[in-house]
Symmetry: C2
Subunit: 428 residues, 2 copies
């Protein structure tokens, strides 16, 4: 306990000293403010993340709480702005890029059928549950559909971080989760397109929906089916010695494909994950993985802390919000979990259980959807808060339960595991 | 030559493909735009930096040109905005943090006398030269003083990058340059405070100037004189194994001290450099240097490219602007070079010559000063362009000449050089 007091002391003094002097300085530019906010996010996320892991909890929970602590609800050091949102998004991009680097296409294809089942059920069941919630609360048809849509998205970043920490990111169930999350994002995108079109009173055409679906599916297949053979072919022409200086090129690849992914309408993290998977084919020959992890270990906590910054604590004081939020949470968890359990007959309960739990977090994807709903006045403040409760609860639920049901594997990376010959099925 | 064509081809196709699809996509959010801009900056800076090094030129020049290429003057993919400026500043911060990690206080103190001489002469001579330029062009007293102020600041980041590339960042002359740059920044800050106070018609008090100077000097001494003994004392309590996960803490230290440095009115890069120097005392025991270099190799090119993005090419078509810019450039180079040569009697011509050239770049510090001048309407567009010509010319001049007069050392880092026992005076 002495160490915990020490950690709290470090956190407080570390945050207070610069803050006081910062407040005391009469003039500071916008850039200075951003620098200070980023410092608060990185520092508090590190300390609370470390504290959480000391208490046997997942680091991400500490990092989300760090955001709550320094955000507008409590200390008020950090407010949402475009630059911090961009930094948080870069964190998510590099996180998923690093996850992609540890997954190969052939491994993901091997679990393709399971991923499709999990994704489709994991979308249908929460959609149905959310619709019913709205129906029983006398909400309009479009509002009920919107609640369902907010329950569809899987925020795979949080699960990926936990599985990475546990050293099981290349296990079979991790691959099913990742594959299902990609499919989820593609279908979820199409649904969001339809719903926001309906909300704004537009005519929703089957051709429009099919085009959106076709473009995003085409993007995924183009990257994988062109990229993987291409990189294998040019691999023999690349000299590892010369490439070692090309870390910036690797980074620009991940940024470029994240941007492209955004262009076709998918989440940028999907593009980063896909190009990471392409580079995974040759990553054994080059030494960029550690450097990508360095970037990720700095920026991914910013992403999780920003989730906390965006949590409106005050809304949680309303008992009706909490009650409805709890109902939505149960629907959200059951929907994804039952979707995962559907593969139990083929894969066994243990794998199916982990997949189901791993699909639960709604995280930032849910926050984005609900943000659209609020800004288009499709939902009011109360419904917004209820859905946010569900998003936060599912986001916190998954890491806690995953750590209870998964035994950590010591070797933290695929490469090391491969070297030991234990790559397949470890941790399952 | 075949390879150069190939590189151009890669650059063009790499930039055009996403750009066209980006332009074709009818809807993309602000975050998507930032992602795309960052991709353009990182990618073009990597390719043109590589091209420059193939042509025997310093990488930074290629990176600045990359910014010109993708910036509003040519392709128009990247426009100045707060987020990109913040990312560029993070690049400069991590660059100077990495430089600090390779310098120890005792090494810098050993060249303290020389650094003070170089800094004071390197401020006085360009100040005087700039004032005379204004006087002979019939500008007002305050405008003449302002031109002098814009010529004072040393942008040590560019020199540090070149010296780092050449493997001589821990040589004696590099230390003199770094020490002089810190002093430059402190005195330059005081001068800028006085001049902008005079420009806005405020009463400039000796007490105000002395307070500014005292606070920034106090900050520098406090960080170094408290930090260095403190980290040595707690070093024995830190377990390298446990700290290896604390890379985020290291990063938050650099961000925190950069922010603090901004609070006391110094450039954030000075704080990052100082805390890097404190951590240099223990960096041999920990493995964070490679990770810091990974961050720096991604973000520092963004900083240099953003210098290019801010260059208004159109203004360079005016022959009077070019002529006056050339005169200012000669004054700027001579002023810093003669300041460096003042230490020739003690240190020999070779060291003094390298120090003088190394102090020449005005870079982003000059751009900040001139930006203040333009926004307060102290200078007009033409004078602005002339000073910008001087800033760009000095910024390009120094790397080119430094590479002509310094023989590269193979070992890229202090640690490796130490291991070989060649740390002292190498490359001199």
């Amino acid at each position: 306990m002495k160490k915990l007091y020490l950690a709290f002391y470090i956190l407080l003094s570390g945050l207070l000293v610069p803050s006081i002097s910062y407040a005391a300085a009469d003039a500071h530019g916008e850039l200075g403010g951003i620098l200070f906010s980023l410092f608060c996010l990185v520092f508090s996320a590190q300390v609370l993340g470390w504290l959480a892991s000391r208490l046997g909890q997942p680091r991400v929970i500490g990092q989300v709480l760090a955001g709550v602590l320094v955000g507008p609800s409590l200390l008020g050091f950090v407010h949402v702005n475009l630059t911090l949102q961009a930094l948080a998004e870069f964190g998510a991009i590099f996180l998923m890029f690093a996850v992609g680097l540890e997954n190969r296409l052939r491994d993901l294809l091997a679990v393709g059928k399971e991923a499709v089942i999990v994704a489709i059920l994991g979308i249908s069941l929460p959609m149905l549950g959310g619709y019913c919630f709205g129906f029983f609360h006398d909400l309009s048809q479009i509002q009920s559909i919107f609640i369902g849509t907010a329950m569809v998205a899987t925020s795979v970043g949080i699960t990926a971080q936990v599985l990475n920490d546990l050293g099981v990111i290349n296990s079979k169930y991790a691959r099913i989760i990742l594959g299902a999350a990609v499919i989820d994002d593609i279908l979820g995108l199409a649904i969001l397109g339809v719903v926001s079109g309906m909300a704004s009173g537009e005519e929703v055409s089957a051709i429009g929906v099919a085009t959106t679906l076709g473009i995003s599916l085409g993007f995924v297949f183009a990257v994988l089916l062109v990229g993987v053979p291409l990189i294998r072919r040019i691999q023999s022409h690349l000299n590892p010695q010369k490439i070692s200086g090309g870390f910036g090129l690797i980074i620009s690849l991940s940024l470029g494909f994240a941007a492209l992914s955004g262009v076709v309408g998918l989440a940028p993290i999907i593009g980063a994950f896909l190009i990471g998977m392409v580079l995974a084919e040759v990553s054994d020959n080059y030494d960029f993985q550690d450097k990508v992890h360095a970037l990720e270990s700095f920026l991914a906590p910013v992403f999780f802390a920003m989730v906390g910054v965006q949590l409106p604590l005050a809304l949680l004081a309303d008992s009706e919000v909490l009650w409805n939020g709890a109902v939505l949470t149960i629907i959200a968890i059951l929907g994804k979990w039952l979707g995962g359990l559907a593969i139990a007959p083929q894969q066994g309960f243990e794998v199916a259980n982990k997949v189901g739990i791993g699909m639960v977090p709604r995280g930032e994807v849910g926050l984005i959807v609900v943000g659209i709903g609020l800004s288009t006045q499709l939902i009011d403040n109360k419904l917004f808060a209820e859905i946010v409760v569900m998003i936060i609860a599912t986001t916190v639920f998954a890491p806690v339960v995953l750590r209870m049901i998964i035994k950590p594997v010591v070797a933290p990376r695929l490469k090391e595991a491969d070297a030991l010959g234990t790559s397949d099925g470890k941790g399952i």
